[in-house]
């Protein structure tokens, strides 16, 4: 979160909506610990990261959805053996992300 503050401030001063995704739980192997965070604005610009690059693309999609609907949610990403193109962590772990609009 610490490293997102400057970008978030810039976006908010421009009046652009911002959603925040935070790693809240981790099972098995994972690259980032709970607390790792990523911010996405309604233009699709990104600050920070929540994995080693495995799921960031999908998180942007989810975050834009959150900005559109205003709905808060938990999204999980795990390793999927049989779906070569599915989004997941290649390290074999599962991460649970909490996404919400920055309206607080």
């Amino acid at each position: 979160m610490r490293d997102l503050l400057d970008d978030i401030d810039t976006w908010r001063s421009e009046g652009v909506g911002v959603a925040i995704a935070r790693v809240v739980d981790l099972e098995g192997s994972g690259p980032r610990e709970p607390g790792a965070a990523m911010a996405v604005n309604e233009r699709g610009e990104v600050a920070g990261s929540v994995s080693g690059g495995c799921v960031e693309g999908a998180v942007v999609t989810e975050a834009l959805e959150v900005l559109r609907t205003g709905e808060r949610k938990v999204v999980s990403f795990g390793y999927s053996d049989d779906e070569a193109f599915a989004v997941g962590l290649t390290c074999g772990g599962t991460i649970h992300l909490y996404l919400e609009p920055l309206d607080w």
């Binding site: 979160m1 610490r2 978030i8 809240v24 808060r72 909490y98 607080w104």
Partner: protein, 272 residues
């Protein structure tokens, strides 16, 4: 949602003041927030005053330990219920590194330590060496005897903090290390050749340091990666600090080991 929480959170994080943010991530009142800081009234609500009270207490505990994670409660904060999942995120101030001895190795170590998120203090009694210009990346440069600085700040050190003694001059090293051992610092290392190490160990014994104290000092400092330059040595030292923190006592290449690659999720070394 309660307004203004983000601004308060951002201000505290920027000022490196300890603060914890609790968020209901599932269950009734999802999205509810409580911002908790030591000696301050919590800001916001999770939707129930009893739940707020219990979570505020737990959040201060997480903050003191520097940990972040999910806790479950009943709607009114009941233990052993799991209606509400609350994510408690600690924003502890960065861990501190004290580097004693203003030498070339110090400049390189400061750089690497800053990358890892430490708040770094360089200290040397020699005014000509301990200057801001020589250590622009350091958060603080102090001209004083290391043991005198430690006598002042020592009581505030925690197991997240580290002390690196790079002077390799017995007249500084011995009092500095003796003072370091009186702190709760999680890592204490001392630079020097094998010969310096042997001589220093003898002098520390004479100064009254017992075997447990000697065992606590990482000396010669660093991992055995064949480091030669100041920069390589800085990497070797920081690698040892990380390994120590994660309880990796016998460090080997990952390709020769099995088991989890990442350390246990615990107090983070770096600010996130």
């Amino acid at each position: 949602m309660s307004g203004g929480i983000y601004d308060r959170l951002a201000a505290a994080v920027r000022a490196e003041r300890p603060v914890a943010l609790a968020t209901v991530v599932s269950g009734p009142g999802t999205g509810g927030k409580l911002l908790v800081a030591p000696d301050e009234e919590p800001l916001g609500t999770l939707g129930n005053p009893d739940l707020d009270r219990v979570v505020a207490r737990d959040a201060l505990g997480e903050l003191a330990a520097g940990t972040t994670g999910i806790r479950h409660y009943g709607e009114r904060g009941e233990a052993r219920e799991a209606t509400v999942a609350v994510f408690i995120e600690s924003f502890a101030p960065p861990p501190r590194m004290f580097v004693f001895g203003a030498v070339d190795f110090t400049a390189a170590l400061v750089k690497v330590a800053k990358v890892l998120g430490y708040r770094v203090t360089v200290c040397d009694a020699r005014e000509v060496f301990a200057t801001r210009t020589r250590f622009p990346e350091a958060d603080e440069v102090v001209v004083d005897w290391p043991h005198r600085l430690l006598d002042r700040v020592g009581p505030t050190l925690t197991p997240r903090d580290v002390i690196c003694v790079l002077t390799h001059d017995a007249k500084f090293d011995v009092p500095a290390l003796s003072a370091a051992l009186r702190t709760e610092a999680g890592y204490i290392g001392a630079m020097g050749s094998r010969r310096t190490h042997a001589d220093r160990t003898r002098r520390l014994r004479e100064a009254g340091v017992d075997q447990a104290g000697l065992d606590r000092i990482r000396s010669p400092i660093g991992l055995d990666i064949g480091a030669r330059t100041p920069e390589e040595t800085a990497v070797s030292i920081c690698a040892e600090i990380i390994a120590d923190r994660n309880g990796r006592t016998d460090v080997r290449p990952l390709r020769t080991t099995e088991g989890p690659i990442h350390g246990p999720a615990g107090p983070a070394l770096t600010g996130r």
